[in-house]
Symmetry: none
Subunit: 215 residues, 4 copies
DNA sequence: AATGAATGAGTTTTCATTCAT
DNA sequence: CATGAATGAAAACTCATTCAT
């Protein structure tokens, strides 16, 4: 008597799976509506789970957002790091990194948006975000430094960092543009960014263009 | 005895004055705490006026934010447009525009932050912001196009636009960095940006550097 | 120098005129939006005058509403009283009263609505309104009593009052219906009400009908 | 010592129970103070629950009011419909309907007031209310039509509707009066209304009276 | 006589978060 | 493990009303 009429077939999933469902829902909500406008009710419902479970698994709203940031950020960094092997020449590394970056953005537009567009405005995440971006800047700066030393030249560290910062910033902006233009081709966008970054306006104006050699 | 310490002369100010006070307070609040976290109470108190006046003069919270956007944006665009005269050679125009831009950011760090960092994440202002940025991109694209045609060459419009977009994006990011580093020198930052934009990584790595001629 | 550029031709109207303008605006606002939803700002603007003037002339919002009630109510009572002379036979008095009543409603739909529909729900005006309606009920009851005594019969006062109340209520409801049907003919509505009131359902069902003799 | 005076057994009630408590409190508040003057704070406190629960269960203030309207309206319509069986003669149906109606009003004075007195003035509920009243008018009109056809006569539809409207209006007004006179007897009021409706002023003045046969 | 400037006080509504079951 | 029930706190917005000029 009083046995459960509907078998709980879809319930009692392992914790890891549930967490991913929640993060998926959270990324959707945060990227579409922003950190403040997204509500925990909304996220819980979209994840098909009750609110207390979200709190039990992923903590407060801020922690949840940070968790999203971490997951998407890690995915992106891994994608880029896996592509730009450190033993290649400078331009090849840059090109592969850019291609990986824009490819990732093209495949995870939601993730990208939540990562950069939303997080930047909210103080609590500024540091978190700065750390992640710092890693990228460091990689690019290291790349430049490496190439310079190979030619027997050296540059003040600040200069390097700022130049790297500018390159990363330009890429972010183009990625932002890419996220807003679903029809745009990530590969082409990467090529354009490469042209700007590598050749600069002066060369471009002279008709010099950079083109990917392989592929 | 008990003479009024603050003369009542500051009350009952004319509308135009009050509006500027409110906008000042709003820019402060929005840029420091973000659109959602900033409260109308806070802004009103900071402006030294009661909430209903804010609503009476500048409308809804969203409208208030847009008003901030407009004021700061107009100031910035005017500063840049006034500096980059259209009859100069391309590199000179770019340089002067950049110098004006970073100079402006250095002088109005709050304004810049509210303008770009906060507005980007909030859907309601995306369009407003896109319009403003669009103007900048157009100017830069026009500049490139002008220089190209002068050399008898022509480029597809989309390409131009994307390159211009990247340049603007890089500048924005450096400006962002500038806003977070109060000790940094806007002039130097402009020079660095000019190097990246004009020469590109390739030339920089070869030891070629761009330097302002005048001054 | 600095003479007024626009001559104040429409300003400085005598107080009585201004008050009527305000009452007109107030009746419009109250009847369209209800007592609470109508705002003093709205009324002042519609009257083409500043808010402090409204307060100076007609007092608080409640007092303003009461003033509307008074003006419209007095107009209506006068219209009815002027039509139903006390020396006519009962049916003729009733008919003339009804015709005057529906005629008035037809000409002042706004006034009627503000008078009855809005005032009834708001406690502060219940008494005011009850007084006015009481006068009407008294008149009708007196009419019935007069007719009864003329036939040598007498009825308990309460009975009379309730019957009169029902007649007034039915008229009010029809008037309400009339206010919502701008195309309807007041005269016809009066005839219908007369039929119900005078003959009753029983006679109507038997095919007996009342028709105005004159006209 | 310090044993809990009120057992915590009354907390955490199931939704259905809470909803009824809220509706009870809302009907009380709305009918006593009017739609606008009644505050959600007040209602929540009177229901012994916090405001957010009211919003969670019954929505917006307007929706809450409509919910009240629905509950009370349904109760009333059911009471009347259950009493006036369609196979009785016209006068008997009318009488039973009126008796049920006034009986209901006598038992739920609060409900009646909120239903008709408050709702009529507020635009947002006009339609809701018109629908409900429309049903009553239709029933009465159908009754008259039925009786007429049984006697081989026919009447224009508009005429019927308006007469029915007048009868309903008269009843509403008497009910209104009843709500304001707690000492009055619903049964007697029904009898009076029946006299007015069925016999008309003419017959009443001639000393003809209608009396309930049964009971 | 007339008004722009100003506000205290209140309202609806939302949301992150936690119990008790 | 899971959730329906519950709330404290705060935010946006409005409005009748008054002062100082």
């Amino acid at each position: 008597m009083s046995s459960p009429p509907t078998p709980p077939a879809f319930r009692r999933l392992p914790r890891a799976v549930r967490e991913q469902q929640m993060l998926d829902a959270a990324v959707r909500a945060f990227s579409r509506r922003g950190f403040h406008a997204a509500s925990m009710d909304e996220i819980a419902e979209d994840a098909g789970i009750s609110k207390p479970m979200v709190y039990a698994y992923l903590g407060t709203k801020e922690e949840l957002f940070v968790a999203c940031l971490h997951r998407e950020g890690t995915r992106m960094v891994e994608a880029i790091a896996g592509a730009a092997a450190p033993d290649l020449p400078a331009d090849e590394r840059l090109w592969r990194g850019l291609r990986a970056f824009f490819g990732f953005v093209g495949r995870h537009r939601d993730g990208w948006v939540v990562l950069y567009r939303q997080a930047r405005g909210e103080q609590p995440f500024a540091r978190e975000l700065a750390t992640m971006r710092g890693k990228l800047v460091e990689v690019v700066a290291g790349m430049l430094d490496h190439a310079l030393r190979a030619r027997g030249r050296e540059v003040r560290e600040t200069d390097l960092e700022v130049v790297a910062y500018a390159l990363v910033g330009a890429s972010e902006s183009l990625a932002d543009w890419l996220a807003d233009h679903p029809e745009a081709d990530p590969e082409k966008t990467a090529t354009r960014m490469m042209n700007v970054a590598w050749l600069g306006a002066d060369q471009l104006l002279r008709g010099i263009t950079w083109r990917p050699t392989d592929r």
